[in-house]
Symmetry: C2
């Protein structure tokens, strides 16, 4: 017997028929002898509608009331799923965020779960009752409803699995698992059987939006095995696990890309202590999220070029901020490119293999793709290229690292 | 300065624009120097949709989960109204049923409020904060969400007004007040300035669906002055108050009617002790709601005729139940009429005026309308007539008692 947490996303519970179907899947897991708790998102479309109402009333309205409004979606789906499980003859009940409670740090609209009181819930589970939790919602220290930010239900599920000491957290979604690359761009991409937390984290933060980043961080921290699988197709998904348990010995596990990036280069910036702070401080204050940062050594000892990327929708704002701080930063001119894409090669295997980067650079050069900037981490190499070459670069790299489905 | 509870129904908050408009009305009441708490229904259509989801999953599903699902509608509108008030520069916060809490007896789907912990809310109000409560929802002794049954938000508002010792509870709705008769049938019906609790109760339970019956009972019990008024037209509504304060000295305050009734007569029932229990016990057990009951004295000392009315949708079921209990009840035959209407003349004034009933019977007879059965209470006379005569009877009685708008 295993103790499992099953999480179903918005498309998996998008209408009453789908909720019935989810209830059937949960019952099957129980009938197979498992102890089961379920976490659900709001029915697809509900959260968007509620956020729309709140933003319509006041785009910068009180986050405490925003949380009251948008948390209602998960409350609805949790109650409906508990009813659907009962209709199949299962014992089940919903546990709302404030009922257990699921404690949070009280940062409204983007709270972090601090701990979950599982005693009552675990007692019910041990007695054969299926617990159904609304994802996304928690309780602040002041006794008010908090939400975890968009996609927070994944984090709710992993946090519950950690608190319950569950054997696995299954995240049901509308894709069959984690792929070596976006199958929409690389038709020969294949589903991974296993991936490490670290790799998943790089994939998740790079646009392969299968799991919410903070849920992967929490799974890694508590060593919760997570399975990503489809609620529509009954095949095994991708297991996200410890490196020790990841048996595959691939050099590279996947190719990720971050579209809609824009590049800004500050040419001949005065190279003296604190220059980075003078550039990125004002950007952070104005809410511009900076991704890659590249600063090379100074050629003349007096000036240097600083390149960084921002989301394309933030480009104009970022330029205005930099222009406004020209006196403090001291640069010659700004060069902006609104049409770049970041392509990354990811794999824990590259730590023990040499030549991974060389292979990447050579393959791109052979196709005539110019690399604009390079950054590396222990398990990732990222390059910035012109957006037009996205498909060619991804397919080329996917082949050269032997990831193609055969 | 007065302490007011303002309650807005579903049509009054049916979209974001209407919620903004309600916020403006609340602000006006505050600016006029009042301490204000607000109770809101769910946005029009929301509750029907949620009830539909729940019933679709299981028409007889767990009422505890049903309450989790359907209470979400009021949570949404309460958060949105608090945001809209803040957008107008008011201090405001929502208080959910479980947060105060609003205690109930725990009868899911049709709970009764037992008491409301108002300390935190009253402290906020005294400090200038506008409290916004979702109507309809409360907390069971087991710590689960309960709802009060359809229309329960009126009761929430009156209960809050009672707990706060409010000077008045204003129920904003889509009509301008309580009318002497249904203006859709009697064009010369006029709005009443005042009506007693007792009269309102008879009106409410007879199809003049302006206020939920249980809210009137609660207002009468705690002597809370209630005003029914329109959220769309800025004119005074109808005040529902104590008889001592009701200045109008009318003999009759209004004419009510209950459509969709059906009549059943059991002919020649064996007239021995316990006959009523043998008839109405099985009906109650099968959930058939019986309204009028008329049993005359026995002519021969051995048998009697018993007539009663049920909702038209329950007629077939009621007949089956009576047929199934034929051996115990002992009757000769059943006569059913599916097309009757109950017309009632209501007024506390009839206690001190003679001839009210006589005027009614005479007026109906003059129009050739046959009275099938008669029942009376201290402030009401009800007759059952053929459905075809509904309009004629209502207009005739409205004129004969001097209620016509001139």
């Amino acid at each position: 017997m295993s103790r499992l947490v099953l999480k179903f996303g918005g498309t998996s519970v998008r209408n009453v028929d789908r909720i019935r179907s989810v209830a059937g899947m949960v019952k099957a897991a129980v009938d197979a002898g498992n102890e089961v708790a379920v976490v659900v998102s709001a029915m697809a479309g509900t959260t968007d509608q509620l956020v729309g109402f709140a933003r319509d009333i006041d785009p910068s309205g009180d986050d405490r009331e925003y949380d009251v409004v948008v948390s209602a979606g998960e409350q609805i789906s949790a109650g409906l799923l508990a009813m659907a499980l009962q209709a199949l003859g299962c014992r089940s009940r919903s546990w709302l965020g404030w009922q257990l409670p699921v404690h949070s740090d009280g940062t409204h609209a983007k709270a972090r779960i601090t701990n979950i009181d599982i005693d009552a819930l675990a007692a019910g589970m041990a007695d054969g009752e299926i617990a159904v939790l609304p994802g996304f919602q928690a309780l602040s220290p002041e006794g008010r409803i908090t939400t975890l930010g968009r996609g927070g239900s994944d984090t709710s599920a992993v946090a519950l699995a950690a608190a319950l000491g569950a054997d696995r957290c299954d995240i049901y979604t509308d894709v069959e698992g984690v792929f070596t690359c976006d199958p929409g761009i690389v038709p020969r991409a294949r589903k991974l059987n296993r991936i490490t937390y670290e790799e998943m984290l790089e994939m998740a933060s790079l646009g392969a939006k299968v799991l919410q980043t903070s849920s992967v961080v929490m799974a890694m921290k508590h060593r919760v095995p997570v399975q990503v699988l489809s609620s529509f197709v009954d095949v095994p998904g991708t297991l996200v696990i410890d490196e020790e348990n990841a048996m595959e010995d691939e050099m590279v596990s996947g190719i990720a890309y971050a579209p809609d990036e824009a590049k800004i280069t500050l040419v001949r910036v005065a190279d003296r202590p604190g220059v980075a702070a003078r550039i990125f401080g004002p950007l952070a204050e104005s809410g511009v999220n900076v991704d890659m940062i590249v600063q090379n050594v100074s050629e003349d000892g007096k000036t240097t070029d600083v390149t960084f990327t921002v989301g394309r929708e933030d480009l104009d704002r970022a330029i205005k901020v930099i222009q406004g701080a020209r006196a403090e930063i001291e640069y010659e001119r700004i060069v902006a490119d609104p049409a770049v894409v970041k392509v990354s090669v990811i794999g824990v295997g590259m730590r023990s293999h040499v030549g991974v980067a060389h292979t990447m650079f050579q393959a791109l050069a052979a196709k005539g793709i110019n690399i604009q900037t390079i950054t590396t981490s222990e398990i990732k190499i990222s390059v910035l290229i012109a957006e037009d070459y996205t498909e060619l670069a991804l397919r080329t790299l996917h082949s050269v690292y032997g990831l193609d489905d055969t």
